[in-house]
Symmetry: C2
Subunit: 439 residues, 2 copies
């Protein structure tokens, strides 16, 4: 069950592992383009994705928002297809064509019936490989992105997560919002967007990932044809994004006075990186503290006291850092009470860890959610594609389940101290004036 | 492929139809409790749902929000289980336990690994059949629901749909919001909530629906045991919710001046009911007008002019009415321009219908989305459960696909005139003062 070294020769295919009915295979094409597939013979659909190893944390300050802006522009047309031709082709077969930009990668994908896979490969590959980024299209899309920023600003439950990243990481690549700012979007030129495209959308920085009722060799043939003309040279695939030193954190309190009905709160600290062995213990801790309806935060804040509709904890992982956060939305007058309960509960798991029962329940929750979450082609495609970009190796599902199972109370106690007993950042959005929410 | 009459004897089982690998079967238990299942032998999970045929449109004015309030209270405990025991049992196996309330029904469901189905049946049935609705739990949950209302109020993209229902249907059962109002929630007593429960949560008004890797006879055994003590008498299942006369509409314009970044717009009219034969033509029209990225509204408002990030049309169906709506979020200063484009595009499909290409693309879009959407157990469970409550019969997927295929340009032209050439309601939320948005 261990995994092949990354140093795979272009033009060769490796079977990474088989699990369940399917197999995961990887082929490296000339130019360093990787194609990774997972067969799911019992479904009738396929999810086809192309991942670029670039995201908002790769942006210099004047480029803030460029990765996401470019993601939009790639839908606007290629050498041979207009924006309408791109979307019409996928709409005509009832497929789902979309994309998303994260801090460390960007993904374009289509989910289609298995018989429509050749179409999906054609369209998505053309968008990624042959985008023309016309000046007039970059201009029209600027307005769309400004509206996306305004929409985010109108939803405080969304806005608060962007504000919390600033509270935790400050004005750094991990702290700045994926969308950029109104100013940075207004300042980005077509030349800069196009240059960003030419720099980052090269075969060695791209991963094609496919899951569903598909055949690996056929996918490789289709992708080779769709990328024809680009698959030259002996470039090796880009190394996975792994950094030694943790990203700097500088936890602050940010209180944003805003005329909303609820106050929205995120309290949190730096978590663990994606490859940190302690991530499984943190996952169990997260499940028990705020991951479900039986969690301590849900019970204390919502079930017993009726103070919030939405209250939960969550984790996020990056190459060299991570977030552990607690969210709650409550009456503006109750922020102090809710914060005090959240801080108490965090303090208790640091001091006393979990009960045996919570440990087992947390493990069961992670296990079940993982297995249930991998029934659809989209999540399988994401798992293998993301892993290729940001992990040294793809852990088989059985291996992930075994690592979850191996978590002990001592592991949870240790990670609770490391993560929750550290300096905390706090963000509050609501009609709260300049109230002081320090502990 | 036609369907069995509703008049099925309690204690008997009918095979409704088989399609693909699975079969749909229905058993009527004593007391009129229906159990409907669909086998999906290639998955490893199961979705278990219990539907009550009651929703917000069944509420008298003083009960506004009672269906949804009760949905919350059912999670708070039974004769033998506390709220924590309910949620802990499902969290422990990584299942997903949730519920939702609509205008015409309420659904409680759990999605679990197939081996955990007995647990899911036990828990969800206990919640629905044995709820105690303790006064202190009703009190605690009042605060939660008020926070849910405030959260909705903080998200104008969500609020606008509730406001639009009022603009279209006025102060009527279909017009009033599912959540109720702050006043109605504050006024609802434990007695009223409990009475509502005893009135509507009787076996003859409940449907159990299950999809996944399951065995019908085993499900019937499990459900019979879980509902033991309730399955007596010879009550027949409640008739499906079908009304002859269309719900009254009274389209108005509602402009809500609010300090948001974007203006949020819904423009629309009465659509068609759930059983209206014209629903397939309206679906194709909706796909072409605003259902995807290749649709006219997306192309005109976003792709060509960059005026909005989010712009789409949608339909909703009820027993005796429906909605056809167009949503857009844009700069407050651009509302008139966006509205004018939307009205133009609506006018064009009324005057000229669609092109042949749009017709075919719209059909493909509905077909593909339907087939792709039925790969997961949750959507299959929903389809058969909802159908049992609100349709006279369950249309096999093949039959739905055939009806979509049969739609002609004349059908689309006719439905466009019937629906889009009717009086329109309009809702705008944003910093727009008292501007006049009439056409």
């Amino acid at each position: 069950m261990t995994l092949p070294a990354r140093a795979q020769e272009p033009g060769t295919t490796t079977t990474i592992h088989t699990e369940g009915a399917g197999a995961v295979r990887r082929t490296v094409l000339p130019g360093g383009l990787r194609v990774i597939t997972e067969t799911m013979p019992t479904v009738r659909s396929a999810a086809f994705g192309i991942w670029s190893g670039v995201g908002s944390r790769d942006e210099a300050v004047p480029d803030a928002g460029a990765s996401h802006y470019l993601e939009h522009v790639l839908f606007k047309g290629t050498r041979t297809r207009s924006a309408l031709e791109i979307s019409a082709a996928v709409d005509a077969v009832g497929g789902d064509l979309n994309a998303f930009t994260a801090k460390e990668y960007t993904c374009y994908y289509a989910r289609v019936l298995d018989s429509d896979l050749p179409l999906a490969v054609d369209i998505v590959s053309d968008m990624v490989a042959e985008s023309v980024n016309r000046p007039e299209d970059v201009e029209a899309e600027r307005g769309v992105i400004l509206e996306e920023i305004h929409m985010r600003d109108d939803d405080p439950g969304d806005l608060i997560h962007d504000e919390f990243a600033i509270a935790l990481y400050g004005d750094t690549p991990l702290g700045r919002p994926i969308l950029g700012t109104v100013d940075s979007i207004n300042a980005l030129s077509r030349e800069r967007i196009h240059g960003y495209y030419r720099e980052h959308y090269v075969p060695s920085n791209l991963v094609v990932s496919v899951a569903g009722n598909i055949d690996h060799d056929e996918v490789v043939r289709l992708v080779s044809r769709a990328f024809a003309g680009h698959l030259t040279g002996d470039a090796a695939p880009a190394a996975p994004r792994l950094n030694g030193a943790p990203a700097p954190v500088d936890p602050r309190t940010r209180v944003i006075d805003k005329d909303t009905e609820q106050a929205h709160i995120v309290l949190g600290a730096a978590g663990v990186s994606r490859t940190d062995e302690r991530r499984f213990a943190l996952g169990v801790l997260n499940a028990a503290l705020g991951g479900g309806m039986s969690s301590r935060l849900f019970q204390e804040v919502r079930e017993k006291r009726g103070l919030a509709y939405s209250v939960y904890s969550y984790t996020a992982q990056y190459a060299d850092s991570g977030i552990f956060g607690v969210y709650a939305g409550c009456q503006p007058g109750k922020v102090e009470e809710v914060l005090s309960i959240c801080r108490d509960e965090v303090g208790k798991v640091v001091g006393e860890s979990l009960t045996e029962e919570e440990l087992e329940r947390g493990k069961g929750q992670l296990r079940g959610a993982m297995v249930l979450g991998l029934e659809d082609t989209g999540s399988r495609m994401s798992r293998i594609g993301k892993s290729e970009l940001v992990y040294e190796s793809l852990l088989p599902v059985e291996e992930v389940l075994a690592r979850i199972e191996a978590v002990t109370l001592d592991d949870v106690r240790a990670i609770a101290r490391d993560v929750l007993d550290a300096p905390q950042a706090l963000t509050v959005i609501g009609p709260v004036g300049d109230r002081d929410f320090s502990a």
